[in-house]
Amino acid sequence: MATAADGRLQGARSANTSSFSRARSSPSAVLPSPPNPGVKLGPNGATFVSSGIPDLDTILGGGFLLGSLVMVMEDADAPHHLLLLRNFMSQGVVHRQPVLFASPLRDPRAFLGTLPSPVSSSKEHRQRDTLVDHNQQDQEKGLRIAWQYKKYFGDQQSSQNHNRDVKQEFSNDFDLRKTLERQHVQYIESMSIQDIPHLTILRDRCSNFLSGLPRSDGGNLSAGRIAIQSLCAPQCGYAEMDWDLVAFIRFLRSIIRSSNVVAVVTFPTSFLLPAFLKRWQHLADTLLSVRAIPDEDKDMAKLLTGYQDMLGLLHVHKVAQNNSQVPTVLEASTFSLKLQKRRSLVLERLNQAPVEASSGTSYSTSGTCSGPSKGSSLDF
């Protein structure tokens, strides 16, 4: 199982790394497991943490950069930003990273009760991966077990893999139907931002959170996560203090930049004045937006394949590039959010449905792979 993950990571990294990438070879080789699987080192001194959605990590070139500010523009009509936040926080819980959650709900802990738990079965991972993974095939050949015993051995292997999973995987698939148990979410700090009259309270809370993080020493990298939901929601007391909000975001960005924390802030765009919306967009290091799709829209059903399964759209506007002059150029910037097997979130490129003319020319833009195409540059 770790091989599949490594294979994917290898693919992602070889897209934009120099020649000095550490090759993760077959699982049989005795390698010391990285001190903290939740944090991955990338080129140019960048460290990544996973966003909780493996597809999004691949799209962004490794994950969320530590020290960056990720802003998600919400759509007033759909709650998809909550999906992103949930996966982000669950990933932090799985990797035992400290999480601070601020939300305009009266009772943020109620939201914490909806965090998804990681998918436990590793066989699903293997089936899901459509990229050819040679290591794994060799492994399967090497087993040479009679077919009727394979099912017993398979279980044992999957449980072995499961243990290795929990320790070694950088990003997990989350099952949105199952929630994390209470004891895991206990340690998430949460606060409600609805009734606070001005932002100094939130500001102080963030500073305290950062100062309370363990320092990262030597080989042991630690990371922290801040999740702020609907920062300028209309029901918050400070919602009309536009300049204060901009000052807060600038503050947040500056304290995070020199620390090992990644912050995800979602905000409703419709409520901001256009000039301030532009300012917020410029202040973000990574800018994503989620959009709702119209229901039962025949035009859209004809335009896009897989329209029935789509939850919404995710658009990547900007990708963080600290310490680097090389921008990340994405092949595609709009993705559709889908639930695979009704439980885990996948992002797919939008495929245009073939035109209905009799000549049958199909203008589908992505490759013809049947599984979710992750936009990896290994697609031929």
Binding site: S270, F271, I293, G312, L350
Partner: protein, 377 residues
Amino acid sequence: MAESISRSLRDGCLEGEHAPALTIEDSLACPLGSHVFDHFLANLASQIADGTSQARGLVLVALNRSPSFYIDLLRRKGVDASLVDKWVRILDCYSDPLDWKDRIPPLMNVQKPSTRENVSFFRDVRDINKLLSSVLDLGKGFVGQGKTRFAVAVDLVSNLLRHTSLPSVAGLLNNLRSNDQISCIFWLIHSDLHEPRVSTALAYVSTVVASVQPIMQLTDEHRSRRDFLWLEKNSCKAKFYVRLKRRNGRVKLLAEELHMDQVGVKFAAVTSENSFVNKSLLPKVQFNLQLSDQERVDRAKVVLPYEHQGNGEAIQIYDGRRSLSDDQKDPHLVQPSTFSVMTDAQATSGNGEIHYIRDSDDEQPDSDEDPDDDLNI
């Protein structure tokens, strides 16, 4: 579509969910919003009286019209008067919202307003927390503490916004929505009285946004000519656009027409134009190659100039000089060099045509498929 809104108000909310919230907005160009509000109010009240709705009672926050107006309205619409007394409570923020009567020395022959038992006075509209607790108390007062829920209607949020700030009003509506005892909530606002961010804030808080738009758009020439036709049309007819947020995270856009008559408001399906699709919701797909429906149909109809049309008929030499309809007199006007499919199609008024002039009549069929065969080097 109005039916679906009434149904969703009637069904209320599921366990663990916030209550459905409806925003009705109108503007000066088409001021039928109050009538739409009355329509939904009367529907919900009759459903409560019948017992078919999830809400067991209704609390009405009356800011714009006097409570007696509403009681008369409900009576006119056929809701039983005793049930009105039992299941409807009106919070009167209309008579004295800012508590002036106490400060003015009382006049001599002042008539005490007749107090009804289901109308309670509210004197301090500026205090949003007090308003919230009064609404909740009124509601709890007649449905009790348990699992039963009640509905809330706010007559004019624009009046509330006169006295308090937008975040506090949005907070009030949000708190009401998320309260366990509220089944559904709806309100009316005049959108042109406020900045655009007010409408977007309320749309953010609500699950259904119904906007009343004028049937005929107001243009400058209307204003200058004082077009009475426009006024007349817009005062009794309007377009009704609904934006529903569904549970699966998608948006549903609906359009209807509404007419005013003696009784009230009537909804009808859209008669004239096509349904309104919000183009901004379509994503920007790469290589925007979408063809409109008409273009697709035309493209399918184009007869390609192959000798074999592929439909089993005898090989017919398709000669552009003899056009498909024999009436055409002069096909030589057409440029023989252009063989393009789509650009021509669009140039010739949307019909797909390909004009192909053969080189000569005594060529063999299929011989034009490779003109290089002629070369004898």
